[in-house]
Structure formats: C-alpha cells, structure tokens
C-alpha cells in the first residue's frame, strides 16, 4: 500500500467522521433546543397553575384554612423559581429540587383542600366554578407540559450516550439534561373527560 493510498483512506475516514460529527451535532442541537423550549413552556405553565390556585384561594370557594394554605403553597411555588429566561433554560438541569418540592407541595395542598370527588363537583357547579375549572385547565396543561419535557430529555440523553457523540465531545460543555420529577397528579374529578 503506497502512502498516497493510505492518505486517501485516511481522508475518507476523516470525511466520514466529520459527517457523523456534523449530523450528530445538529441532531443534538435540535434536541437540546427541544429540551430548553419545553422546559420554558413547563415553567410558564406551572406559574400559571400557581396563579390560578391563588385565584381559587381568593374566590371564597374554599374554607378559610384551606384558602390560606393553598395561597401560601402557591406563593412558595412561584417564589421558589423565577420564570426562566432562555439562557437559564439552556442549563437544562430540571427545575431544581427546591422548586420541584414546592410544586409537589402545592399539588398536595390543592388535592387536600379540594377534597373528595363530590366536593369538587359541588365546587365546579357553584359560583366559583369558573376559577376552579380555570385551575383544572392550567393544571392539566402543566401535566402535559411536564410529560413532553421529560420525553425530550429522554431523547436527548439517549443521543448523548451514542459513541460518536461522546468521542467528539459533541455536547460541548452543555450539562446532561435532567427530567423534572414532581407530583402533579390531578384529582380524579378535575381530570378533563377521560384521562
């Protein structure tokens, strides 16, 4: 094998490597964007849920003790994490344990404050039905947003485990994306039809 042949083969290997790297990098870039974008959407939706919860607390639909606890949990949740800017979202590190705990806390408090299915049906039929169903809608959308976000995270993590992605350091200094784990289960009676 002459040196020119070796050079040709080396060139070919380099070209294949570059192609793999380019395609891997653009795929990873797309997935990272998806992770960041869906995280922003999730964050915004959780904030919407918290403000809907405050409105329910202020509407007089709940007993005073529940109202105070719901409002407190909602403020804790919205204080725990400021609305993420695109730059912060690019860190892709979930929502942080403090925020996740606060959101789970809000969920638990809301579930307790709303009570049994019959009580929720009464709430929905009552004068504050509108704010309660607004809360239900925001809450349901938050569960959707979290699912879509975690799905994007799982896909990005899968791609980052590929050998050529690791070999070429295609992810650069971007941190490994983390899923958002929190309790956002809707009470049965607030689930939109089906579920």
């Amino acid at each position: 094998m002459t040196w020119s042949e070796i050079a040709l083969i080396a060139l070919g290997a380099l070209a294949v490597g570059l192609l793999l790297a380019w395609r891997g990098a653009s795929r990873l870039d797309r997935l990272h964007r998806k992770v960041a974008a869906s995280r922003i959407a999730l964050d915004a939706q959780l904030v919407r849920r918290a403000s809907a919860a405050v409105e329910v607390a202020a509407s007089g639909a709940l007993d005073p003790a529940s109202a105070i606890l719901v409002a407190d949990a909602a403020y804790t949740a919205s204080d725990a994490g400021p609305v993420t800017s695109p730059a912060a979202a690019l860190k892709m590190d979930g929502l942080g344990p403090e925020r996740e705990r606060a959101e789970s806390g809000l969920t638990a408090t809301l579930r307790e404050a709303m009570g049994a299915p019959e009580a929720i049906r009464t709430l929905l039929a009552g004068p504050s039905g509108e704010v309660v169903s607004a809360l239900a809608a925001a809450w349901y959308r938050a569960t959707l947003a979290r699912r879509f976000h975690n799905e994007a995270v799982a896909q990005a993590r899968r791609v980052r485990r590929l050998w050529y992605v690791r070999l070429f350091h295609l992810a650069g200094r971007a941190p490994m994306p983390r899923t958002v784990e929190l309790d956002d289960a809707l009470p049965h009676a607030l689930e939109p039809n089906g579920g």
Partner: protein, 409 residues
Amino acid sequence: MRGVRRRSHRALRVGIVCPYSFDAPGGVQFHVRDLAEALQAAGHEVSVLAPSSDDINLPGVVTAAGRAVPVPYNGSVARLTFGPLTATRVRRWLEGGIGGHPFDIVHLHEPMVPSLSMLALWQATEPVVATFHTSQVRSRALQVAYPLVRQSLEKIAARIAVSEDARRTLVDHLGGDAVVIPNGVYTEVFSSSPRRPEWTGTPDAPTVAFLGRLDEPRKGLSLLVQAIPTILAGIPGARFLVAGRGDGIAAETRELLGEQASSVEFLGGVTDAEKAELLASADLYVAPQTGGESFGIVLVEAMAAGAVVVASDLGAFQRVLDDGAAGALFRNGDPADLADTVLSLLADPARREAYRAHAAEWVQRFDWSGVTEQVLAVYDMTLAADSAIGGDVVGRIMGLFPRRVGGDA
C-alpha cells in the same frame, strides 16, 4: 414568524394526516373525520390529507393523496400509499398549508405505519403532534427501518395514545411516554336516536342486543349463545337481537339452539343509524368480547343510547364502565356468569335505572367536545414549547433554500 405566536385560544390552522384510505371505513379514518369536524366546530381551520382515489366522494376538508394500494403488511393486507410521487404530494400539501398560510400544527395519525403519516413526519418542519391508535407497533420490517425513522420520531413534540393499552405498547416498543386521550363519540347522535317498536322490549319480552362480527371468535357471540338457554329458562319471553356480518354463522347458531332459535333474530350488517336505533331500543347490550379490545367504543355508544351494558371484565371494558359503576361486568369467558348477570339485571329495574343514570353522566367524558378540549390543550402546550425559543438557526438558514423531498436525510 414563530416568535409572535400567541398561545391563547386563537384559531389554529391544523393539518391532519390519515395513513389509511377513506375508501374503506375503519377506526382511524372515523377518528380523523370526527376530530376534523370537532376542531372545525371549535372554530379552527383544518385540512386533512388522506389516501384516496379521486372518484370517491370525500368530505370537503380532505385532500386526496393518491390511490391506496393493497399491500401485505404486518400479517394482513393494508391499503397504504407510498412512493416518490406520494412524497412529493405530501410535501406540496405541507407547503400549501391552508389558503397559502402555513399550518400551525401538523397532527399525524399512526406515524409508524409506512404510509402518508410517516412521509409527512419525515418532511414536516412545523410542530408535530402524533396519535398512536393500535396496540401493534413492532414488526420485523420496522426493526430494519427503525434507525431511519428514529430521528424523525424525535421531531414529534407531543404523543397521544387513544387508550391505556395503546400507550403501554408504545412505551414497550418505542420507549418514551404518551398522553392518553380516548376516542371521542358524538354521544348526542346516540342519546337522541329514535327507537324502533320492533326492537323495544316489554317487561315480559325484554330485548338483548349484540353487535360485532359474528365470525370473529374474540367478539364472543358463542358465549352469548351458550348463555341463551339459561336466560330463556328464567325469562322465556326474552329476545336476542344479533347485528353483524358473518357467513353461515346464523344458520349454525339456529341449528345449535334448536327450538329456542326463534328467540334470536339476526339483523345482518346494520347502518350507523340502525345501530343507534338498536342501542336506543334494547334493554341490555351484551359485550362478551374475550380479548383484543383496546377501548370499547360500542360500549360508550350503548351507554349514550340508554342501553344497559353487560360486558366481560376485560381491562379496557372495566375502564370504560367506570369499574362497573356504569354497567355490569361478568367473568370473561364464563357463559354461566353472563347468564346470571343478565337474569339478575332483567329482574331488577331499579338497578338498571341506576346504571343508566350513572352511564348518562359518565359518557360525557367520551364526547367529542371534551376530547377536543384535551387535544387542544396538547396543541397549546406544543405551541408554547415551540415558541419559547424562536425557530432554530439551522432551520432558518436552510429555509433560504427550497425544501427538498427528503426531510431528515
């Protein structure tokens, strides 16, 4: 201009892709047709792309993407559309949008079926929502093609499964998760259906309805037939109305039942209107299916029409019947238990009324209006995520060049 996209309830332009031909009726086609209608009723603009020959009468919103060819796939014959010409048509449809405006959302049905939806996914640059219907995703051919489609699958921003079972298969075969949004039913059609005197039961001669292909063993007609003698022993006047096609089964059943055969009437295939009338007239609707059901839409239709449902305790049926609060369940595959359940129900008008009252309220959650709300919530979250970070730079640079046929490659 993705940045200015607002996420409130503004009118959306939705492109829906159906992989199966409208020439032949089927669950996915009905779902697509009904979803398109429901979205339009909610004030959104819809365009549907489906395989179809041009000569067939299509609903106005449907764009024909060419003739569907019967091809053997995954153990049966499916009518699918594929090939380079189809890919070009899909691209034109995607580029055309609605009235020259691009789609806000492209909603694909069954993107893992090698037909239009897969081609649309491959080429779409819009935010993509995908709905998975079947509980059969994996095939050997798909294993071969999987590396090619996996990247496309990453484009899907939101996945919907029409049932818990469909979701489970999706999770097992493709990984990842999906939101369950059930099939919708226009409950109004069934609850307002007129009755037919000849199918309406009396206290002495109650009517029991069965619907489904007679020659498909899993639909369970034979279970009902085995239960008939016991039921007749308790209520001699009971009548059984059996609707559905199946060669030679009627004669076979009559022979099997001998003298009691006169209590069974075979109605053959029925139209949609006749089905609604049958379910509105009958006292009981029996669903003795032994398996292979992922949702049980007929049960919902029966509940909406006002028939009391007696169903086998399959997982899917338990869920549809609110764990037995909206209808009676019997042990799957047990004709004696079926007969007992039917007899006790027919003897107890108060219990039937309780089931009917609960069912009338319960079915509302399966109505298209509610289902559409859920689908719109998914669109909402998809668009919110899409607009959170503007369009990607690579995409915008590539956008300077005309889109080639060949989405990902």
